[in-house]
Symmetry: C2
Subunit: 416 residues, 2 copies
């Protein structure tokens, strides 16, 4: 991509009401644009980053046999009344609207009800189970307060997966597969070393649910963990009886601020019972489907990655989520020629700063945008057959031959 | 994809209130699920089809230098009040909702206002122009009546592109590029031979806009055309003075029912003026940005393709939009082994019907789902080193060697 062909520019200032550092950088670097408190647009660099995270999640879920769909945002109250969740007392984040033809509609904050209802058409027998269905879909939540940039918003991209099993044993088997898939996802997006699976409050049908919490200073939650971090608890379950059950003592626990980046939940019959999702077992007896649900806020994860890696100069993206792999700055006539040829060969990997601006300005923008590698292609180093590469995260500087550079870019594109 | 691993099943019946034939087939074949009148979910086959159409549009727009973003559905009334379009008298299809923190919000039926406003941050000088920005985004329209299946809905996927130019000349240049890109898009999705660029009503700033209309019997519009179809008119502009201007006579015009599948519109200063989108020209003088907008309803196009190609047995998809390329039915032990190996090699191209069902039932489902080629891999033909291929559209039957089949599948995957 040639920067001169893009509308993206870095900005000197972020909106005054934007307190989260990640959001300030995301706005200043041209990744997102704020429409309203808690409502953001994704600009070219931001959309590419979001898509990279989405694709990592998709790959890991497809590997464990999940099927992708896309359900509607508009919701029929009749369905939600069956579970009691149309009520604003029960679910206090509904956006509701009126159909001009008459009648109320809602904007889905989550999709248990329509997903369960839709599958009544497709699940009849034990032979139809298990099923794992997910979507990437825009959720709407009427939050009273929206802060923390894209980490907590009123409209956001979520991956929600629902599992439908014949019994608890089959459910548990899949639940563990999702745990593993989630670990691979956090690993790949660069949050592996600071994300923990925590015990969280369960609800009516299960003692616990699990959350995935990433330790970052601006996290909204507090988590507690023992020395080797083999047991990690959300605050709401740090109770004497729970600690006893998990074999940890109050005094041994340390705490940290963390942001939730995913949750997995054994629903059992919570939705399948009121929505009447049944199947005939091998003996022809009618049984209720055993359900689970598994969420990841995709835009939220992007915000958490931004928070975790940003330094005082700007964003820093891990390679797998970065919108581009290299930020190429040409200097001089031959440098420009070589850089332009390289970009035309690897337009999906290279952000070429071909604007009419000083190198210093370009270097600043490269830092703010957080592209993993900055490569300067100048007449000076080309004279020795070399180009200069700077690692955004470590600051490590290297001279590479053009052949090395081409090989690195080819390898990067092949892996994607 | 192995059909036994999917939740998709064909259905004997469509909902009684579903009158459009395409919608009946799309539901019965497991492509979509109806939530409400005018609100549909996309199931695995439907989502793949939708994604294929989206990707064709994306490729053609990227070729002419457009940049992709994704804007929010939630809208700030303040922005729309500036153009007068917050008023329900002016725009009668708003879904409006209340923010729990106080204040009204809308769900975007289109994005001229936020797009124009967002670009105020990025357009300062003539050097920043032209810019072409598009998105694939879910639009909400509070239609009084929703019929015609996925061709006219209350929530739908739309590609909306906006152009920002320094003057009319530069605008016109791009406008023609979009015309050409649209023609390539309709060609690729299989609507090339029955889609016409029509003169449509312009609005305040332009005499005409252009629509792209596909001739199909269930179309909601009537178009008029002269003998060689060099002039095609929407009904609303079939006026004496227009016909005279375009050099056609009432008596020479024939009519046809058609469905609108795209529109392109010279906006001039309609939005940039009230929203104050200016730039400094070469002389440092402030000028207003010259705009255009260009829409394609992606889910609508999918419905129109379904309508155009369906026959009495079910859907028929053109190769480039079909969710899978081949529907493979194995018969016998060796047939199953060969088919399974082939599917594992080409899982994105083959829908393998490995269900425990009679071949006749599988053939019926293959027809209903409209996958371009049905391939029967049976012990009988394998004994002669052959497999049997049936073209869904032409009914042409062929014997292929396994090498031919592999070469065809490799070629198909390479082209995608």
């Amino acid at each position: 991509m040639k920067l001169s062909h893009s509308f993206i520019k870095t900005l000197r200032d972020a909106p005054k009401d934007e307190s989260a550092r990640s959001a300030q950088f995301l706005i200043r670097a041209g990744y997102v644009h704020k429409e309203l408190a808690g409502v953001y647009d994704y600009l070219p660099l931001g959309l590419r980053t979001l898509n990279n995270i989405e694709n990592i999640i998709r790959e890991e879920l497809n590997k464990i046999g999940c099927e992708e769909v896309r359900m509607s945002a508009l919701q029929n109250p009749a369905l939600w009344e069956k579970t009691g969740r149309w009520s604003d007392q029960e679910v206090d984040i509904w956006f509701k609207t009126e159909l001009s033809a008459g009648g109320e509609l809602g904007l889905a904050p989550t999709h248990e009800e329509p997903m369960t209802d839709m599958l009544k058409t497709y699940i009849k027998s034990y032979k139809d189970l298990p099923l794992y269905v997910y979507q990437f879909q825009t959720k709407f939540r009427n939050e009273l307060r929206a802060k923390s940039g894209i980490m907590r918003t009123r409209e956001f991209l979520m991956k929600d997966l629902y599992s439908f099993s014949a019994d608890e044993e089959s459910h548990n088997e899949f639940y563990h597969k999702v745990e593993d898939a989630y670990k691979r996802i956090y690993e790949r997006v660069g949050l592996g070393d600071c994300t923990y699976q925590t015990f969280a409050s369960g609800g009516i049908f299960s003692k616990f649910s699990h959350e995935f919490q990433t330790v970052i200073p601006v996290g909204e939650d507090t988590i507690y963990y023992n020395k080797d971090k083999s047991v990690v608890l959300n605050e709401e379950v740090k109770l004497p009886e729970v600690m006893e059950e998990l074999g940890v003592k109050e005094g041994d626990l340390e705490s940290a601020r963390a942001a939730e980046v995913g949750n997995i939940f054994t629903l059992k019959y919570k939705y399948s019972d009121p929505l009447d999702l049944k199947f005939n077992d091998k003996e022809g007896k009618e049984q209720t489907v055993f359900m689970g649900c598994y969420g990841i806020g995709v835009s939220r994860v992007m915000g958490v990655i931004a928070e975790k890696y940003a330094d005082d100069k700007g964003l820093v993206w891990p390679v797998e989520v970065a919108p581009y792999y290299m930020y190429v700055v040409p200097i001089g006539e031959e440098g420009t020629k070589v850089a332009t040829e390289l970009e035309s060969k690897f337009p999906e990997s290279i952000l070429l700063d071909d604007r009419d601006a000083r190198p210093g300005e370009k270097f600043g923008d490269a830092e703010l945008m957080g592209i993993p590698f900055r490569v300067v292609i100048s007449d000076k180093t080309l004279a020795e057959g070399k180009v200069e590469q700077l690692d955004r995260q470590t600051g490590e500087q290297k001279l590479l031959t053009l052949d090395d550079l081409t090989a690195i870019l080819s390898g990067y594109e092949k892996d994607r």
